[in-house]
């Protein structure tokens, strides 16, 4: 262990540190519990790296600012919680349509509207998928440990840059406020991906021309390339294509295809003791830790429990669920909400196993003993 690299830090600080390690040099945000420490860290530390921090007037402005910074070539990020995430949705859609890489951190709250600020919840899972209007894909990752907060923030930037799209990180108050020990890697050992930059003559440049990879090379504003960007569905020139039905469909397809043709790269899922499991727990974020602890205690009691932990929530790891639904008798989805990812799991299980749901939405992290009790309850007569 290199003591100089070992730190006891919170989940929020780990996100900020990971972002800076990934090359983030522009942060715009508006303070909100339980995400504010991400802003604090960036305000204090970004200038040391030649970066900029700006506190905007609200979350609408924050999202707009990080889009602008990214279009000028900077890796950019904002962080918020439920109410602010709602305000960001319109511009988040713009970033998807205009294909602007950026990272949005949502430290989820409890309940609708202002909800409860200081307690853990997983209430924005569907908002991360469908919060902004119109057909669109989403890349969303869920964080469950301080180590993951650091590593997956780097991964979020890599995915954003590689696929020219916003990436959403979902955290919660448990992880954001708690500290764990991590050994920070040597920055030289990190895999850092930067967006593909246009090299054609500026006169020939078409901003949304597919180079065959499905992802268009990017020309930072200010680099001599003059181009038009709009949230309107556009053709390869960047100008609205509203009168051409064929071109309209092509652009929407391309938004989906660049994600769907790369699922192996994007989808990350962890399995624990699934091989012989009769009961599979599906859990993500902080709740995954309760599920993993439950698998061990359940097995000590002779109940064969395994865990599927989606790290990438969107696109949903369908293959992992299809694999376990063949063997497991029961699939129990555990979430700190009223049932969100549950519906997606249920859809993919297609009735091939018993499906059950354990939701807790009282501001407390689900305890392993509660999951164990739920397993015993739902498997009566099944296992």
């Amino acid at each position: 262990m290199d003591k100089g690299r070992v730190a006891v830090i919170t989940g929020n600080d780990a996100i900020a540190k990971g972002a800076i390690a990934a090359g983030m040099r522009f942060f715009a945000g508006y303070p909100i519990t339980p995400a504010s420490e991400i802003s604090h860290y960036c305000a204090e530390n970004l200038p040391k790296y030649g970066g900029k921090f700006i506190q905007m007037e609200d979350e609408i402005g924050s999202m707009a600012a990080i889009i602008g910074a990214s279009m000028a070539g900077a890796k950019s990020m904002t962080s918020t919680s439920g109410p602010g995430f709602s305000l960001m949705q319109e511009n988040l859609g713009f970033a998807i349509m205009a294909e602007v890489p950026c990272v949005v951190v949502d430290v989820m709250r409890f309940g609708p509207s202002q909800g409860v600020a200081t307690v853990p919840a997983q209430a924005d899972v569907m908002q991360a998928r469908w919060g902004t209007h119109g057909d669109h894909p989403s890349i969303t990752l869920a964080l469950s440990t301080v180590k993951e907060a650091y590593e997956l923030t780097i991964r979020a930037f890599n995915l954003a840059e590689k696929y020219r799209t916003p990436v959403i990180l979902l955290s919660d108050a448990t992880l954001s406020q708690m500290s764990e020990k991590i050994e920070l890697p040597d920055p030289g050992t990190l895999e850092i991906i930067d967006r593909k930059i246009a090299t054609v003559d500026p006169e020939q440049f078409q901003p949304y021309e597919d180079d065959g990879s499905g992802i268009c090379p990017f020309a930072p504003y200010g680099s001599g390339y003059i181009w038009y960007t709009t949230g309107i569905v556009h053709d390869e020139t960047g100008f609205p294509a509203t009168s051409d039905p064929d071109k309209l469909a092509i652009q929407i397809d391309r938004l989906y295809d660049k994600i769907n043709h790369n699922l192996e790269d994007i989808v990350q899922v962890e399995e624990y003791l699934t091989e012989d499991a009769e009961v599979i727990l599906v859990a993500y974020g902080s709740v995954a830790r309760a599920a993993l602890a439950t698998a061990d205690t359940a097995r000590r009691e002779g109940i064969k429990v395994g865990v599927v932990k989606p790290v990438t929530i969107w696109p949903f790891p369908e293959q992992a669920i299809k694999k376990v639904r063949e063997k497991a008798k029961t699939i129990l989805v555990c979430e700190m909400n009223h049932g969100q990812l549950y519906w997606k799991v249920r859809e993919v299980v297609e009735g091939k196993a018993q499906i059950a749901f354990l939701g807790q939405y009282n501001g407390k992290l689900i305890k392993p003993e509660k999951i164990l009790a739920a397993i015993k309850e739902v498997t009566v007569g099944v296992c």
């Binding site: 006891v8 708690m178 602890a293």
Partner: protein, 189 residues
């Protein structure tokens, strides 16, 4: 020595319970190379109100991150004591400051009454060092963390010019507890 331990440090906002949790977590995590989780929880008050920090220390990676049955509870006020003692593990340890905790709960475990605030005020000369006095006392009672590791973690974070004060507070807490409770016994747990 058990290899999985849960500690809860509780008191009133302003008594340094959050910082004490950070000291413990860094001592165990950085100096003793253990796995740790540190959770802090407090009300909306900047001063006053019951607050607590909780530390899990383990030789193995920590899966579930919250304290469920603390092995040790430190209570610096009556309110914190009343609020946070109930789920103490059977046979666990409570450290209380008798100046602030008059009504000691009936627990299945051992209670150590140590005049933390009084030592800080009268012997060390500064009441705000009571949290460090408490950490000194804690390392005298349990052998999960060496006094050296904890002292190093404290000195890493103490502002320049207060090192001597903090070291004094730690040592007084440690020595008082050793003399009162530990002379004929080796440290418990």
């Amino acid at each position: 020595m058990s290899d999985y331990l849960e500690l809860r440090l509780s008191g009133s906002g302003g008594q340094g319970m959050m910082l004490a949790g950070t000291f413990l977590a860094e001592a165990a995590g950085i100096y003793e190379d253990k796995h740790i989780v540190l959770c802090k929880s407090y009300g909306p008050e900047a001063r006053g109100g019951a607050c607590r920090s909780e530390v899990i220390i383990s030789s193995e990676p920590i899966v579930y991150p919250e304290v469920q049955e603390p092995d040790l509870v430190l209570a610096m006020t009556q309110e914190a004591c009343d609020k946070y003692y109930e789920d103490l593990k059977s046979g666990g340890i409570m450290i209380i400051d008798p100046e602030h905790v008059r009504d000691i709960p009936d627990i299945n475990g051992k209670v150590y009454e140590i005049p933390l605030t009084q030592i800080a005020r009268d012997t060390v000369g500064n009441e705000i060092t009571a949290n460090v006095v408490a950490l000194g006392a804690l390392t005298a009672i349990v052998d999960w963390i060496s006094p050296e590791a904890l002292k190093s973690a404290i000195l890493d974070r103490t502002p320049k010019g207060t090192e001597e004060l903090n070291e004094k507070a730690f040592n007084y807490g440690y020595n008082y507890t050793m003399e009162k409770y530990m002379q004929s016994n080796s440290p418990v747990v």
